[in-house]
Symmetry: C2
Subunit: 510 residues, 2 copies
């Protein structure tokens, strides 16, 4: 453990490569668990994953990595910020310090609390009995406070948690963004509710052959640019994307005969994630840089392809003829514009994961507020359902009928992870912010999409987003790509224009 | 690292459990590579496997394991030989010493030589050019000598190699067994050749719907006792079985429209391997005991189900009606006995992996002899093709047309592993030796099979073979199960009776 800069970098990269290999092996095991593993495999798989992740943690947080980072930080102080070597050292340092700041017994306590709370949450949700889950949520609030204390923060405890998943973001920045969103969306949602009949989506429920849906979806994502030489599509209960390296980035989808959107938009969404990983530079493979800049930026790629491309009129002008050929019966008498309108129907609903483009961010706002208030002791756990329901009524306009469709719906609070939800909204905003710049750089984008040409769009994303992996924080990445840090304005303009037109709401614009 | 016996055992088991987890993770990655991995995944997968196996090796061969074994050997000296704890310590010691005896630079050289030789072997085989491969085979002979020297042996270098895969077996023992086999089979093969027309297998080539074949095969192995709650069947180029623990033991198969045997007998063969793993005692899970007693004993289980059960007349009396229902067209005019005869057709051929029950062991004998002669310098690499062809003519009666169908056919010699081939013959012999005892213990076995009842047979195998895993060496296991060490007599009696009847050769009996 010594030598010159290139020796040290070589040694560091060797350790990081092996840590990456262990983490990727764990991802393969998780992919298998969700797709093909027989029921009897559960226990053995849990043991295998625990061993892989324990070894990866031990190897990554060892003193060797610390010593190498110390030396390299000095020696690389004049290397360009965006060089591979400076970025590897900078991002590894961030991960290393965060990992070392959490005391091992807190990490163990979090794991235990999560595995104890999970079945209780499941039962509470099934029984619609929040009181059953309340003590476990209280414990998780306490653990989240201890995580925040261990990581440290300048202003509010949530800062530590959000910075952990969305590096550089602050509670203050998010609070301002959510305020702006709330002001814009709540009246838009109300306007849509008044004109709800303007969009008819009954065609989506006419019954579509499942096998055909899956193969059609695969054909679409292939044409968007998802590389099947380095990927594949399987079926799982919840769609996901996972990457084991530049040569193997997979997606899953699900399919329902009775609801068209699940399969195709699920596949497009996951292919957006997967194309991000497929576009990361080979030079940063097997380092901590080979991953999304943050969960939020990752979500921006899936949302961009799913919503800004896949739910656009030019997209359907191109694909609708082939869709109609594949499914002549259910699509009888429906033209491309009617179909475009159907897949964009907006209607307030209780469950976040089923929410449409317009209402989605309101679901996130609610959770962002409650997590903050719980962390800071301004809200007691026992009062969560009441607070949830009141806010849901005020933001979305619906009366929550029970806690299963309210405060108990998400799994997240059962395994101790506050600070995750904002990433979904960040993803939506980033997608629109990038798209604004893409439209400036590729003025005929719509015409290209209408011709089924996606190469220029994917090329732009590769150059400005994908290849960098985690080299930059979300704001750094956005500054470089669009000249601005995260802003809600492009997304607000996008939904106002799109849904204003769909629902005849020109008057809503402020 | 201290404490009383149970503390030490606990510590040893903890290390062994993590080593097992790493090895099983590697097996999952290999399963994925053979079934679903996209082409682009090759390089990343090789890196992940190398890391997993390196870490498993480092963890297993570390000084901790040695110290714990030293202590436990003293303290457990009066524990029963077949107790879990004594067996874990005994078998771990064997593995540990063998792993430590190979110097790390020899291990690295073997890995390098293998990866260099593999593509050359592929090209040489494709081009039917033995000279291209000769220098690499020469290198591998030298490495095998060095392995034998490092491991040590009493009598002949091959002893070290065979003991490594088939613990307790010696070259002398195998030489005697092969001599006995040769004496019995060569005239049997000649007799079959004279009466070749006695068996017509043209029905097998009439075309069978591939999807139906795969689902029929899965149904059959399920009824034999392969537990699909703890297993599954997929498709791969070469069928295999792999176990990630008691709850997840998988098989693969392959299917050809134009040749019936591949799919069904492939599935039955692999399910025999898989039922072995599914039957191992839960108490020895995550220890070196949780595996087959040897590759040869593992092969005995696959061969027993494939040949002694699956190619028996009682088996077809039970299954043929459902097979005929599934494939009415190709089976028109063929009755169960004609089908039984078809699947048992014996005809000499050049390729070992396509060899029938009678000729298979002759292919192995040839390799056993050549490997020994190469190791001991009695045969030079350049003379291998000539020696191969002369012996093949004398044993099987055919003229080898080229080295692709001769000395270049097996991949094994490209990755430095002498001493593997005898396991296939040991598997055949063990299957018949066990079956002789099973018939004594279950006198109405044929009647049970004819009724589709396999529980008593599987129960016998579980009790006498499966549950023990690697607790006993092959000979120890056979002594316990049948009262005798390995012997060729039951297998010789079996093929003489079966093929004598099929080909009308009563006169062949000696």
């Amino acid at each position: 453990m010594a030598g010159n800069t290139s020796d040290k970098l070589q040694q560091l990269r060797q350790i990081l490569a092996e840590v990456t290999d262990l983490n990727r092996a764990a991802l393969v095991l998780e992919w298998d668990q969700e797709t093909y593993m027989p029921p009897g495999g559960v226990q053995g798989r849990a043991e295998q994953l625990a061993t892989l992740l324990r070894l990866s943690h031990v190897m990554f947080t060892g003193a060797d990595v610390g010593r190498l980072l110390d030396g390299l930080e000095d020696e690389l102080s004049s290397a360009p910020f965006d060089s591979d070597e400076a970025s590897i050292v900078r991002v590894t340092r961030r991960d290393y310090d965060q990992a070392r700041k959490l005391p091992p017994d807190l990490v163990a306590e979090i794991a235990r609390a999560g595995s104890v709370a999970r079945p209780v949450w499941e039962k509470a949700r099934r029984d619609e009995d929040f009181n059953l889950f309340a003590p476990y949520l209280a414990k998780n609030v306490e653990l989240n406070r201890r995580i925040a204390d261990a990581l440290g923060y300048r202003d509010r405890p949530y800062d530590a948690l959000i910075d952990r998943s969305e590096p550089g973001m602050t509670t203050k920045q998010l609070t301002a963004i959510f305020a702006e969103l709330k002001e814009a969306i709540v009246p838009l949602v109300a306007g849509i509710a008044r004109n709800a009949d303007a969009v008819d989506d009954s065609v989506l429920y006419r019954g579509f052959d499942p096998d055909l849906q899956v193969s059609y979806a695969l054909d679409v994502v292939k044409r968007l640019g998802y590389d099947l030489e380095r990927g594949r599509q399987d079926i799982s209960t919840h769609p996901f994307s996972t990457g084991f390296g530049p040569g193997d980035v997979r997606i899953t989808t699900r399919v329902s005969r009775d609801f068209f959107n699940e399969c195709l938009f699920g596949s497009i969404h996951e292919s957006g994630h997967a194309m991000y990983n497929q576009g990361m530079s080979a030079e940063i493979d097997r380092t901590p840089l080979w991953d999304g800049a943050s969960p939020g930026v990752h979500e921006s790629q899936s949302r961009l392809w799913e919503n800004l491309v896949g739910r656009s009129l030019p997209f359907w002008r191109h694909f609708y003829p082939s869709l109609r050929k594949a499914f002549p019966e259910p699509l009888t008498g429906v033209d491309e514009e009617a179909f475009y309108r159907a897949v964009n129907r907006s209607h307030p609903s209780f469950i976040r994961v089923e929410a449409d483009e317009v209402t989605y961010n309101l679901h996130v706002l609610l959770r962002f507020e409650l997590e903050n208030e719980l962390l800071e002791g301004k809200l007691e756990v026992k009062d969560v359902p009441e607070a949830w329901n009141a806010r849901f009524k005020s933001y979305v306009g619906l009366d929550v009928p029970n806690d299963r469709e309210g405060a108990l719906q998400d799994i997240h609070w059962s395994f101790v992870s506050f600070g995750i939800f904002p990433g979904y909204t960040i993803g939506n905003l980033v997608s629109a912010q990038l798209m604004e710049k893409i439209r400036a750089d590729i003025p005929d984008l719509d015409a290209q999409v209408e011709k089924g040409q996606f190469a220029a769009l994917l090329g732009w994303l590769r150059k400005n987003v994908h290849r960098h992996g985690r080299k930059f924080t979300p704001d750094e990445l956005l500054e470089r790509a669009t000249g601005k840090p995260l802003t809600a304005a492009p997304w607000i303009a996008y939904v106002r224009k799109k849904f204003g037109a769909l629902y005849g709401l020109q008057a809503v614009r402020s």
